[in-house]
Symmetry: C2
Subunit: 319 residues, 2 copies
């Protein structure tokens, strides 16, 4: 019996070792069908003379951010640094506190905030910074998101996705972010967190107005939304910023927000790859699903690859 147990243990150890065998480029990814699909795709599109070769200028990868590159539960990172701005706005004009989203925010009512969705988040951000110059707002956001030693606080990237970005860049890809979070917010840390420069960030935008203050030209943030960068709003933003259909798009399961841009990538002429991250790892992150399974259904219909955080990722966060 002991011998049988020992053999079983050895087999379990070998098979777990096999499952965990790591790719040199993607050490935090398990050796699964998904990881193989990613590596095969990159090999195919970089093989000169091969049928699926894609020139460097068209190697464009676009990633959603919240829930795809960083944790978005229990609350999107964008909410953390705006508390002071909201409180200052309410101090100036107490009637602001009566708006439903602001009230939910001040009460810490997460359920009501979740129900307010992206539009609610944008209302919070615009309340916190409306009337300020873009330069000031950007500088303050940068400070609020960093501790005294310059480290980013409140932004928790997934280690496998950081490796994937590096791997794609090493293979000639240009990597962009296309997020529902406000553009100004994401730009305040994209370079530090992901090595993605501000000009390769797309996001939700508030109206800004060119004006002069104290003898200096300024863009002043308005209190209305220019574009909500979610769902069917993402492909037009990608077209405006990049002018091409992406070769690779990564998004995640939460509200179906990334399906349109994944379809836009899939329907390019030539090869493409779409990765849909499924939050199925309650032990190491959070497990959440869509009530209607819209994104997973779309993945099956359109042939997107589903990345299981539980099965495909050996490590979720950097130690």
């Amino acid at each position: 019996m002991l011998a049988v147990c020992a053999i079983a243990l050895v087999i379990a150890f070998i098979s777990s070792t096999l499952v965990l065998a790591k790719s040199p480029a993607l050490p935090s990814w398990n050796d699964t069908a998904t990881t193989t699909a990613i590596e095969d795709f990159v090999t195919r599109i970089t093989t000169e003379g091969g049928p699926d070769f894609v020139p460097v200028v068209d190697r464009i990868a676009v990633f959603d951010m919240d829930g795809t590159l960083i944790v978005e539960k229990p609350m999107p990172a964008a909410l953390a640094p705006i508390v002071d701005g909201i409180k200052a706005a309410v101090a100036k004009d107490p009637s602001i506190a009566e708006r439903s989203t602001i009230a939910a925010f001040l009460k810490g009512d997460r359920q009501a905030l979740a129900a307010a969705g992206e539009a609610g988040m944008v209302e919070l951000i615009s309340t916190a910074i409306a009337g300020r110059t873009l330069d000031e707002a950007a500088a303050d956001l940068g400070n609020e998101l960093r501790s005294a030693d310059g480290k980013l606080a409140g932004v928790k990237p997934y280690q496998p996705m950081l490796e994937l970005i590096d791997y794609l860049e090493a293979n000639g890809f240009t990597v962009w972010i296309c997020s529902g979070s406000p553009l100004l917010f994401t730009r305040s840390f994209s370079e530090q967190a992901f090595g993605i420069p501000v000009e390769r960030v797309m996001g939700t935008t508030l109206v800004t107005k060119f004006t002069e203050r104290d003898g200096r030209s300024q863009l002043v943030v308005g209190d209305s939304i220019d574009h909500i960068n979610d769902k069917e709003g993402k492909p037009p933003t990608i077209n405006q910023a990049i002018g091409k259909r992406p070769l690779l798009v990564g998004g995640n399961v939460l509200s179906g927000g990334d399906i349109a841009m994944m379809r836009y990538s899939r329907d390019r002429d030539g090869p493409s790859l779409q990765l849909l991250i499924n939050h199925d790892d309650a032990a190491r992150e959070f497990a959440y699903a869509e009530p209607d399974n819209f994104s997973l259904g779309a993945a099956e219909k359109y042939g997107f690859h589903v990345v299981s955080m539980k099965d495909d990722w050996a490590t979720v966060f950097a130690p």
Copy 2:
């Protein structure tokens, strides 16, 4: 007397040679104060350890297109390839021909078209392509702008500006276009004409809508304007695309359309340079001025460098 004449001729020859002495990087520019100012600026911002050194990531140059990089008189290049589209739209719906801008266009009434301005041009473009997919419209534009051998027709770049772009890129600049012309139009030749890739083009945008046609996801061009990229509309576009104030901006005298983005550049923290091209060369191009001299007045007020096509450019067009 003959001797005096000969001496005068020799002096005239020497001084004209002196004026025409050419910079190795900018052979089509005369050796004038303007050319020296450009070269001095580039030397200062690239001198490591110097007081005006600017890191490569912030070396951003933004140029207007029509009248700055290419000829915009007698008519902007964007108008040439849309004749067929307009005629097709009118054939389908004759009432379209009654709209004032369309009527002026069909009659060849240049004065009325000029009065309709950028908004009129956008109306023409949207009439020509509304309802079509972006992919189709882009492919057709690309074909219409090229002759059978692939050469660009109807787009006439200024040789000194092509040299300036090369010179800036050789000094670590990233060069962008910020034009009032429709984004789709400018992108159809920016790489071929200027070596500027599509993702570094900003322009006037029409609303596009994500939808499905024949089983394939598409962006379809609407008949309404999303953003007119002119005057005070240019700095918000620059912020959305680049996220930084440009180090160098080039624009031209015509309607004051580039002054806002030149001020936006001038008011960055640290050094900057603005170039305002003055169309004062009736012999080699076209001479035109603003009735109110708005742009030249702004140049004086804000310290922009005025580029005289007549005096500063040795060559206007490539032979």
